[in-house]
């Protein structure tokens, strides 16, 4: 077409540098010469922390756990003599060796019931208890509260998902991204549709405009969709996509994504079965973060969390039911790793919560507050007020980063 009453793609993209608003943003004021990134990975379904990071040194491990495969030779890699790591996670073990992985255990959100959906809601909203109706996510409130220069638009977050998860819902703008399946729309059609949306539906107009810009960020990158092996569980491709977008100088500094399928009620197979394979897929994703983030890895924290743990004992169908405390991983060049942090509650029958769950001794919010303070420079007042409401009395963990 020769006539051009419509904006061309190039014109549409003139503002591409501002997609995540970081192109113009000064480096975060609180951390001179640093440019920190934070990615939160949610394991939906409830990770069995004792299968991922078994406490082999606990005197009650054998009697409590009834999962003999974790004891078998070669099933785990040693960490610190007390804890070991599932052998399906060699990349995480290597980061631990390199002091870039910090493992937390016996952690839990404030949630104490057994519903996935409520537990995820609380994990992601950052509220002290469930509320009805509208809620925003704590990571969105972090975005909204990040220090930034005057007259700058609020920085945008990134959700690797088809829709915005609760953790990133709220007032601060968020982009979603997922792997591309079709050829990209031509500029002319985009422009005509945008014209229609601007007249009829401003929300769809904003969505389309941002969707086009986001494509532009990733379309130049070759190999955004590496071939998947059919039938094999793949978390690494999405992880590589997230890493590439976040590694860009003008990319987002705050992101979230989720890996599903941790609800192992039956035949969970911690080493060679379903859970073992899923841990291996998570480990491949961890490797993809490490390599994809490249030079910015040094100033990155990836927090891997889940909504709750699982019952200590295997159930009648060799799986585990919804529990309470579990493990969490902090990885990245900015993490002071090579440690397992746990105020270990013990696995004796009397020490279990309600006689069935690993007892929570560390509030996950205290962990995240520690990261947000030390890594992003967010003040305690904001952490205890807006980010994690009514958590002023909850002391943040110190010495997680640096």
């Amino acid at each position: 077409m020769s006539r051009s009453p419509f904006a061309s793609r190039r014109a549409l993209l003139a503002g591409a540098g501002s997609l995540f608003a970081w192109g113009y943003a000064p480096r975060l004021a609180s951390a001179a010469r640093r440019d920190p990134r934070l990615l939160v990975v949610i394991l939906r379904g409830g990770l069995d922390g004792l299968a991922a990071v078994p406490a082999l040194g606990d005197p009650d491990f054998d009697s409590a756990r009834l999962a003999p495969e974790l004891r078998e030779a070669g099933a785990t890699l040693p960490l610190d003599g007390f804890f070991a790591i599932n052998r399906n996670m060699p990349a995480l073990a290597q980061l631990y060796q390199d002091r870039q992985a910090l493992i937390l255990h016996a952690v839990a959100s404030p949630y104490r019931d057994r519903s996935h959906f409520d537990a995820q809601d609380l994990l992601e909203s950052g509220l002290p208890k469930l509320v009805d109706g509208g809620r925003s996510g704590w990571l969105n409130r972090v975005l909204a509260g990040l220090p930034r220069g005057e007259r700058l638009p609020p920085p945008k977050g990134l959700a690797i998902a088809p829709t915005i998860p609760v953790i990133l819902q709220g007032g601060a703008p968020v982009e979603t991204w997922q792997r591309q399946a079709f050829a990209y729309a031509d500029d002319d059609t985009v422009a005509r549709l945008l014209d229609l949306y601007e007249a009829r539906d401003p929300k769809l107009a904003a969505a389309l405009r941002d969707g086009v810009l986001l494509d532009n960020v990733t379309m130049a990158e070759d190999g955004m969709a590496p071939g998947r092996t059919a039938g094999r569980l793949d978390f690494a491709t999405d992880a590589a996509g997230a890493a590439r977008i976040m590694a860009r100088p003008d990319g987002p500094r705050i992101g979230a994504m989720a890996f599903s399928g941790w609800d192992t009620h039956a035949d969970q197979g911690s080493i060679t079965g379903g859970l073992g394979k899923r841990l291996a897929a998570l480990d491949a994703a961890i490797g993809a973060f490490r390599s994809g983030l490249g030079p910015v890895w040094e100033d990155t924290v990836v927090a891997v969390v889940t909504e709750f743990g699982r019952t200590v004992r295997l159930n009648g169908s060799r799986g585990t039911d919804h529990g309470t405390a579990t493990t969490a991983f902090l990885i990245g060049g900015a993490v002071k790793g090579g440690r397992v942090l746990a105020d270990w509650p013990g696995l004796g029958q009397q020490q279990l919560r309600e006689g069935r769950d690993l007892a929570p001794t560390t509030d996950l919010r205290a962990v995240m507050k520690g990261i947000l303070a030390e890594h992003l420079g967010i003040g305690d007042a904001a952490l205890g007020g807006t980010v994690f409401p009514q958590s002023e009395a909850l002391v943040r963990l110190r010495g997680l980063c640096g």
Binding site: F117, T176, W177, F182, D263, S317
Partner: protein, 456 residues
């Protein structure tokens, strides 16, 4: 009620000539559908539960022999290339989607298809976590547990879904054994609470429905026995599914303060009857129904009205659906919800009068974030108005629409489709955009992506 509200909010969009048939009384057109049959025609690629079990067992036998041969060092050809005498699970899933598309094109009762989508989602069983089991039994679940009851009694649907093989696999009740049952004592196996919890939290009372962990465990005990036998010999295929007394936890159980004597399979029937009549169930089910059809902004009184009809009628779903349709608030709320991908695909089939492909509908649904019958959790798909309207999602829809339009016949008349779909309600902006499009394919893209088409 505006015709577009009737066709899109409560249907799959207007097929050829449908706006004319609605005439001046769209509500009557909707209400008349409530008297029509809810079933689907037989399809020999979509077996019912007994057939699905036969296919499943034959596949399982082959898989086991392949495993043995592989262990013995043999190199195997892929399972999909073996010559087999059974349907693979993905063939059934594909046939199910194909039938859905064919139904969407031709059905005179699109409201019933939308109700089926809603109730399938309310009682989610998902291919995401159990692709083989649900591949075999998922389509049967819709035909045996959902469709026969969706204009009947909620209580019957609750019982049918809770005891269907698909659900027993999906929420692990197949593996749940009463610790004091014959089998429990012999095999040392025990309870699995998953199904009991989701029945209370998602299917009936709702998460704030006033039950405790003790209630969940009691219901889990009552549910023991409802299972499927796929490992040991059985006298018949039918004997492989249903209630197995040797797995059932003996003795009375107390749920929500009420004692249920151990009457075997009837123990579950009794407790589900009471759960279905509970006011919190009326409230929860009404809320989900209103939210699905109307959206976030529906006035709270609408859900209260529907809940009251639920309670007064003892869970008569025809009365409940009728109350929703008749409510002025349901007709007055402006189109708010971005149509979920499955509605977009089925609606486009109805609009075009043929399956919208290529791209393959199965692949398109996955790309748009809603893999067919593959919700990520038992809670089902998100129901927020803009859940499907995020930037990447809208852009993916546009890319899909362009790929679809590129393979449509060159002479396709998008203006005629505009009249078919929206008639006099077409906005001047859309009419202008379609009229000025560079070619008929771009015109179709603009129609498919228009706010009128995307929201309902």
């Amino acid at each position: 009620m505006q015709p577009m509200i009737a066709t899109q909010r409560f249907g799959l969009g207007a097929g050829p000539g449908e706006l004319a048939r609605l005439g001046c009384d769209p509500l009557a057109w909707l209400l008349a559908q409530l008297d029509q049959p809810t079933g689907l025609p037989a399809d020999d690629r979509i077996p019912g539960s007994p057939g699905a079990m036969d296919h499943f067992l034959r596949r399982q036998e082959l898989v086991r022999s392949r495993n043995a041969r592989e262990k013995a060092g043999e190199t195997l050809i892929p399972l999909s290339r073996e010559v087999v005498d059974f349907l693979h699970p993905n063939e059934i899933v594909q046939a199910n989607l194909n039938q859905g598309l064919a139904t969407a094109i031709a059905t005179p009762t699109p409201l019933l298809e939308r109700l089926a989508l809603h109730w399938i989602n309310h009682f989610t069983t998902s291919l995401a976590s159990a692709p083989v089991y649900l591949g075999y039994f998922g389509a049967a679940f819709e035909r045996e547990a959902i469709r026969p009851h969706m204009l009947g009694r909620f209580e019957d649907m609750l019982f049918a879904t809770s005891t269907h093989t698909a659900m027993l696999f999906y929420l692990d009740n197949r593996r749940s054994v009463g610790p004091n049952s014959t089998a429990g004592k012999r095999r040392g196996r025990g309870l699995n609470e998953n199904l009991a919890r989701e029945i209370m939290e998602l299917h009936s009372l709702g998460v704030d429905g006033g039950y405790t962990q003790a209630d969940v465990i009691a219901l889990a005990r009552i549910l023991t026995g409802w299972s499927a036998e796929i490992d040991r010999p059985a006298p018949s295929t039918a004997a492989r599914m249903g209630f197995f007394p040797e797995l059932h936890e003996p003795g009375p159980q107390v749920v929500l303060g009420r004692r249920y004597a151990d009457t075997g399979p009837d123990q579950l029937k009794a407790v589900l009857h009471d759960l279905a009549q509970h006011p919190n169930t009326a409230r929860h089910v009404a809320r989900r129904l209103v939210r699905h059809f109307i959206g976030d902004t529906a006035p709270a009184e609408l859900a209260q009205t529907v809940a009251k009809v639920f309670q007064d009628s003892g869970g008569d779903l025809k009365a409940i659906t009728g109350a929703l349709l008749r409510s002025p608030a349901a007709a007055a709320a402006p189109p708010a919800r971005v149509r979920p991908p499955i509605e977009l695909l089925l609606g486009t089939a109805r609009l075009l009068g043929r399956a919208p492909e290529p791209p393959r509908p199965m692949m398109a649904l996955t790309a748009m974030g809603q893999p067919f019958r593959g919700a990520a959790s038992p809670a089902g798909w998100p129901e927020e108005d803009d859940a499907w309207g995020a930037p990447d999602a809208i852009k993916t829809r546009l890319d899909w629409a362009i790929a679809l339009a590129a393979r449509q016949p060159a002479g396709l008349d998008a203006r005629a489709l505009l009249d078919q779909a929206f008639g006099a309600e077409t906005s001047p902006e859309l009419r202008r955009a379609v009229g000025r499009a560079a070619d008929s394919r771009q015109a179709l893209v603009l129609l498919l992506m228009s706010p009128e088409y995307q929201r309902r």
